[in-house]
Symmetry: C2
DNA sequence: ACCTGAACACCGTTCAAGT
DNA sequence: ACCTGAACACCGTTCAAGT
């Protein structure tokens, strides 16, 4: 039945994500993925064209979870009162938190794909859409400067993304009193934008 | 003599960088690196502890070239007149240009290293130092807001870094009139900072 | 000190075969 | 439709040996 197939597929994706967290990309071998999912070392080929497609499924799941987190923030903002600018700020902080907590998944998600997975592209589009909607609301509320919301969203995301990636690589002034983590840089940017 | 060793080492690093550009990380095999450098497939082990150390040498060379480019901009700014803020802006654009032009080297440079290479750390520190000095000058000239120059430099670098990485992954609103590339986002940030 | 060739363990992928 | 076991080509690393 289809349920079995879906379950096996999901089990393979979960096994790959776990291995990614535990030992990085080199730890994700089809043999170990299969073993953890309780199937043979090349059963994955019945669900994915190759190893890259399995990894793309992991990345797509990460992006979809990111969007779910953003949607949850949007809903809780709609329920309570709350500054819409603060909602956007929370989304961006959440993005950086995810990157720092799951560095390898983060790197993989924005890695180089030789095959353009439509599953990945759709997930990315939806996630960006959720952020843009929140930016739009914040602009209406006057807590973010006017202008193309698509462009403001991209600026915010780029800063959070870059800050997280630089921090993971240890390139964010690791010593001295000038030390600033991704969260600090994100807050700096929002402060500059409110002043602009 | 030492000259031979240095040359072989350099040839190995160059071969690895070329392979990186041509076919991505999977194309960099010690066998092919050795072949291109005119040595056997495990001669690299006489110059580097393992494959990762060879890749770290490639990354360090990239960072050192980045610093050289920044230094050149600093010198040409000191010679001519020029707005010191524009010099910083050029450095940041140059950083993004490098990332977009050599995506795999860029990814590698800020990738995950299991061994903390001192060569890499030193190169990174020097590059950040060059940028911070330029930011400091721009602040004196009034073209960048006051505050910890270390922190402004980190914000600028994070935005350029993230914008480039998102663009490479195709996550930067690839369609529609809202499209903005890394260069646009960088200019947006500088505009916001001048207004703040 | 630097290099070579053989060897080992491991991995992605393919294939013939089973249910 | 999904899975298995054997097999193939390839790779990082080690080792004994050469200059």
């Amino acid at each position: 039945m289809a349920a079995t197939a879906t379950t096996t597929r999901e089990a393979l994706v979960t096994a790959a994500a776990d291995l990614l967290d535990e030992g990085g990309l080199p730890a994700v071998t089809l043999r170990e993925v299969g073993r953890r999912a309780g199937v043979s070392h090349n059963a994955p080929y019945k669900h994915f064209a190759d190893k890259e497609e399995l990894l793309a499924a992991v990345a797509a799941r990460e992006l979809n979870r990111q969007r779910a987190a953003m949607d949850a923030l949007t809903r809780s903002a709609a329920a309570g009162a709350g500054d819409p600018g603060a909602t956007v700020q929370r989304m961006i902080h959440e993005y950086a938190r995810w990157a720092l907590q799951h560095p390898v998944r983060f790197k993989l998600t924005f890695g180089r794909w030789t095959t353009g997975s439509p599953e990945l592209a759709t997930a990315a589009e939806a996630t960006r859409g959720a952020l843009i909607a929140a930016v739009n609301a914040a602009q209406d509320g006057g807590s973010l400067p006017a202008g193309d919301p698509d462009r403001i969203a991209a600026l915010l995301l780029a800063t959070a993304h870059g800050a997280a990636d630089l921090a993971l690589a240890g390139h964010l002034s690791p010593t001295g009193k000038g030390h600033a983590g991704p969260d600090d840089l994100i807050d700096d940017l929002f402060a500059h934008l409110r002043r602009a």
